[in-house]
Amino acid sequence: MSLAVEMNGISKRFGTVQALDSVCLRVKRQSIHALVGENGAGKTTLMRVLYGALQPDFGTVALDGKPCRFRNSSEAIRAGVGMVSQHYSIIPQINCLDNLMLGAEPGFVLSRSSAKRRADELAARMGFEFDWEADAATLSPSGAQKLEILKLLWREARVMILDEPTAMLSPSDSDALYASLKQLTEQGATIIVVTHRLPEVLENCQQVTVLRGGRNVVSADVKDTNGPMLAEWIVGQSMHGAPDRRPPASDEIVLEAIGLSAKGDRGNLALKSVGFKVRKGEILGIAGVDGSGQRELFRALLGLVKPVQGKLLYRGRNLIPATVADRLRQGFRIIVEDRHEEGVIDDWPLIENAALGLHWLPQMTRKTAVCARYAFMRFALAVRHGKQAKQLAVPYLRQTGWIDFAARRREAQRIADRFDTRHGGLHQPMSSLSGGNQQRFVAGRALSNDPQLILAFQPSRGLDISASQKLYQTIREECGKGASAIVVSFDLDELMENCDRIVAMCNGRMAEPPKDKARDRNAIGRLMVGADA
């Protein structure tokens, strides 16, 4: 029996990076095959080759024993290969039926009634239900996921690739998804799931292929493996032991949110009556599936979005009227989710990027001696202290709005050195840095100049293990000096390892595990789903 998919010796190089090195993949017909590995292991790249979005430098691809070469995704689609990417390709402004049809319309003139009939039939096959006329913007993540699967069926895909399908789903939705996938394999499809969630692999998939650093590590039947073995293959070293004890944070409450509600991008209520406290010196971790309201929470905390309801107190005072600039002045710092959009200006040199968010700091602007107050004090001090007057009068210099370039350069150097950002000179544009180095720079900037409240959104994204450790170590140091930190991550293990206390957000609400289960992974996982701990 020939394999549904056979990829042999696939190699792909991007500039200096060898993304794939002689990788092989063998998928049996009508199976659910898991492709696992860390970030950057090459999983998505390999699938993009299969899907025709990328041409390999070397290697062959064969479907059902017949060799193929796809020059673009349309050819792959025609050959029966379909992919659902991690970020759904649903266009919110057009309705569900149009989203389903786009790119594979039944004819030049669209007969919506017959299209609807076919859509209903496909949906019934999977047990789904859709309001075809509704705008796709109304779909929930799991609804969008279902539509994506229907898109594959519409195009009569025989090989379906799902990239991180459960990234946006709650555990119960994930179970439902895998049930659907099983049904699809019974109907003749072959499914490849790209994931890093080991429990799902162990429970639902038949075979697994592990990639690390662009190379094959192993391919095996799932029943012959277990969690620790897979983890070790993925990471390549045994996992660390339990995290060491931390000094208890003080009792002083620095930030308090009571009944905070805020609207999201689409006008819906994304934060629903959230309440929590952060103590001085504490690192609070927020767990949760992407899209549970963490983004909106950070925006409300930073001041970009005004809450529609609730109270927010910082050091006892009402924070809500404070602008972003006010909060930055009070020591708020943010490691943004999307550097490119929110954190840096690509065309600007590193020096200018270093000042973003800190540009108004007194130490970055010049002081002038040209003012009456300084003159008076200098004179008065000279009368009393003679030669030391100049030194003593420094605090009376007037702050101006002129840039102190030397100070900026020093600061930029310091920020770059903090996490060993590799760069070609401080006058080089930000875009000349690699992604990982950009993240190091952004993190360095956020943790400089006396932060008081650190908001970190997926701070270790793009960073390798040692940089990530150093980052959390630095956050810990700053907290030791009296700061506090809130970390949002979609990786529960990262939070377990680095945070003092963990809360979970689900669907806009926040829940904290009871004291006896404060570090119980399962309890937190249940809260992430909306169940009780």
């Binding site: 970009l304 909060r327 540009h359 002129w402 840039i403």
Partner: protein, 345 residues
């Protein structure tokens, strides 16, 4: 050695992009001249001698350059904040009209100041709606400013031909300003005439340069233009920035009009602006990253304007050639400069 190689690559790629476009542009211009039965070489030399050949010619070139420079500065300031102020034409007109009115009632150097301030205020008021709509409603400023332009033309046309018309004149024009507020050109050397308007323009360029690159406020403006979201995360109040920069841009546009009245024309009339605002857009687009680029850019267009008159009278080349050249210059330059970045995968 390693440092040199990437540099070459940085230069070669844009050059390869520009080359075909530049070739087409040059070809079109040459073709246009041939079409008009004029040798391109002759046309070019006529333009050059007319614009730069004689002191009188050069003085006229500088006269054309002055309003273009200041209009260019106005567009540039808004451009740095990420806004397209196409409305400089209208702001210039209302500024000129306001100055023409004020010039009838004020005297002396205080009067000059009053006229200039009146012009700036008028320009600012005219630009404000576009700025507010953009800041509060995210309404595209290109369209609102174009609309305001048209309203400005019609309004000033009506006012100059109706309630404020000079009763002694046949055509729609305002009463001439008082002689004491006029700003006549002065001699540089024996034959060259330079206008105070140009001097003010130069000073403005230097001032804007310093402000944009050496102050915190200028930094925030540039950040808003470069990446509005990142600027917001850095504490910059985007709405304030938008309104301030449109306002400043409008004020400078009004100043251009006011100076045009005080330094050259002495009154406002229907058809006052032969497209200064429009050409000012070209000046700003070609200026590049630094305000200092506005100087050669404005001079180029000023020379083009002066040379075009000679080319028309001496060679029969229609005046439209200036706009054609401007458009082609913008296209060629924009291929490298105004390239939109594509999102990374």
């Amino acid at each position: 050695m390693m440092a040199l190689a990437p540099r070459l690559q940085d230069v070669a790629k844009p050059l390869l992009r520009v080359a075909p476009v530049a070739a087409v542009a040059v070809g079109l211009i040459v073709g246009a001249f041939l079409f008009a039965n004029v040798s391109p070489a002759v046309a070019l030399s006529t333009l050059a001698t007319s614009a730069f050949g004689t002191p009188q010619g050069f003085s006229k070139t500088l006269e054309e350059t002055a309003p273009l420079l200041i209009a260019g500065i106005a567009v540039f300031v808004a451009l740095k904040a990420g806004l397209f102020n196409i409305g400089v034409e209208g702001q210039l007109l209302v500024g000129a009209f306001a100055a023409a009115l004020a010039g009838q009632h004020f005297r002396g150097s205080v009067g000059v100041l009053a006229c200039l301030l009146a012009g700036m205020a008028a320009g600012l008021i005219w630009a404000l709606p576009a700025g507010l709509i953009k800041a509060l409603r995210n309404g595209h400023e290109v369209i609102t400013t174009i609309m305001l332009n048209n309203i400005a033309v019609l309004t000033t046309q009506y006012l100059a031909g109706g309630p404020f018309k000079d009763p002694t004149s046949q055509s729609p024009r305002t009463v001439p300003i008082d002689a004491s507020v006029a700003m006549p050109s002065f001699h540089v050397g024996s034959q060259l005439m330079v206008s105070p308007a140009l001097v003010i323009g130069l000073a403005l360029v230097v001032g804007i340069s310093v402000w944009l690159f050496r102050t915190v406020a200028g930094y925030e403006l540039r950040a808003t233009g470069a990446n509005p979201t990142a600027a917001k995360f850095a504490g910059v109040n985007a709405k304030t920035m938008i309104v301030y920069s449109m306002g400043a841009s409008g004020a400078i546009g009004g100043l251009a009009g006011a100076l045009q009245v005080l330094a050259f024309k002495g009154q406002f009339y229907d058809g006052f602006s032969p497209g200064y605002g429009f050409t000012g857009l070209g000046v700003a687009l070609l200026a590049g990253n630094s305000p200092l680029g506005l100087l050669p850019s404005a001079l180029l267009f000023g020379a083009l304007a002066k040379g075009a008159t000679s080319m028309q009278s001496l060679l029969g080349v229609p005046k439209g050639i200036t706009y054609v050249v401007m458009g082609l210059l913008i296209v060629t330059y924009a291929v490298v400069r105004y390239r939109k970045a594509v999102a990374h995968d």
